[in-house]
Symmetry: C2
Subunit: 290 residues, 2 copies
Amino acid sequence: MTDPRNQIERALDRALAFATATKRPPLLCEAVHHAVFAGGARVRPRLCLAVAAACGNRNPTASMAAATAIELLHCASLVHDDLPCFDDADLRRGKPSVHAAFGEPIAVLVGDALIVLAFETIARECATSPDRIAPLIATIGRSVGMPHGIVAGQAFESEPEIPLAEYHRTKTAALFVGATASGAIAAESDPQPWMAVGEALGAAYQVADDLRDKMADLAETGKPCRQDAANGRPNAVDAFGVSGTLMQLQTLVEEAVATVPDCPGADSLKALIAGEAKRLVPKRAAQAAA
Amino acid sequence: MTDPRNQIERALDRALAFATATKRPPLLCEAVHHAVFAGGARVRPRLCLAVAAACGNRNPTASMAAATAIELLHCASLVHDDLPCFDDADLRRGKPSVHAAFGEPIAVLVGDALIVLAFETIARECATSPDRIAPLIATIGRSVGMPHGIVAGQAFESEPEIPLAEYHRTKTAALFVGATASGAIAAESDPQPWMAVGEALGAAYQVADDLRDKMADLAETGKPCRQDAANGRPNAVDAFGVSGTLMQLQTLVEEAVATVPDCPGADSLKALIAGEAKRLVPKRAAQAAA
């Protein structure tokens, strides 16, 4: 499989063009571009496309629509997460966060606009396969809304006690489940067996994020580290130490690989997951474990 | 036509049940209910249903789905508009605004959750008429997103100069256009001629809102008045005086009535518009003009 990153960038460009072609309102248009084209790794849309490819890629338009919507929703969640009332992060991927660059009102609106645009994109791009629209929206909506998705996950931070497993499942893993399940749906396959793959990958990603927060530096991640401690959030490294957390990460990646269902492209997907997992471990943690 | 308000409340209740039945996360669930069941007049969903009825009401499920989504999106916009970084309003319809009652993080998330829920509702409720989903999402998405919808409208407040006509068209009239056009789409009619009706009604509503901001008191509107002046926003009463603004309102309502296209229920819709218009004029303005 060729690297789909360029295709994803083009699809995002196309989606944004529908929102920003008139350049009105100017600041909002600029801020939406800033939020979406900020050097993200596009992990979730690549996963969505990889699952669709593994399932036989029956409907490339629908899978690209799903992948695009998922990345737009991910970007929306980052913009709102960075707001002063949440993480109050002035940097994101080494650049000013949206509210730092454009002000808080525009940052709230960028998130709102990207959520709307995500659903518009699914509806528009699936015009030739309208039977894909409702299941894609149900699955992707579930992974970002409440009670199962990112918004619910983020809201647990406002509870007097954070239920750790539910918090990580909703805030981080849910969109990975959305990515794998919607990739299968787009390819006209059963999404059910793919949910466990997304769940394990999402959990692995969360553990890797905890490691990065503790051990990476700004140059490596492009965002401020040690944010969990600063924001009073739980971190796996505190509970299990570096080597324990690395073992957890390995177990979760193996689980993700093991749960990949039989399908035409199972082997290349498994290789992709294993390769991606290595990229997630911060250098200092890998050195510490070596 | 019977008053559809109870049906709208039941449909909103049903939509929210999908998001809040598990009562997780507890605060977010409570806040979402607070935002949606706060004694709103349900003007936009009633308009949507009235247009669908005037068009022959071919698909009551689809029109109720559209009406519900529009009200959820309207509620989302109110919650975000009240945030400290926008209007900083502690009261809404005589009760604490969402951020005043539940904190700013939860208020941001309530808005996000309601936007997601709106699109999920359309996809789910139109399961038996899937060909309605894409056009409804396109039309409703346009009325809330960018560059034509509420989000764009709100973003004009961050521009160095506010383009008045474009600001009102996007921030207020767009969702009225969404309501009339989606009512027609749900009823399998051509939405095109209905857009002018929504445009005129939305403009009328904006003018009425300006009057209320200047002339009504808290007891009448349930929210702080004189907010336009406090927030440096333009207000028609400053430009045209009370009687000039009332004349403008009357002209716009007449325009809305005149643009209602030929359809089975045109007469009862025209009567409804005329009745609704009277309700919009604050008592003091009506007395001043008498």
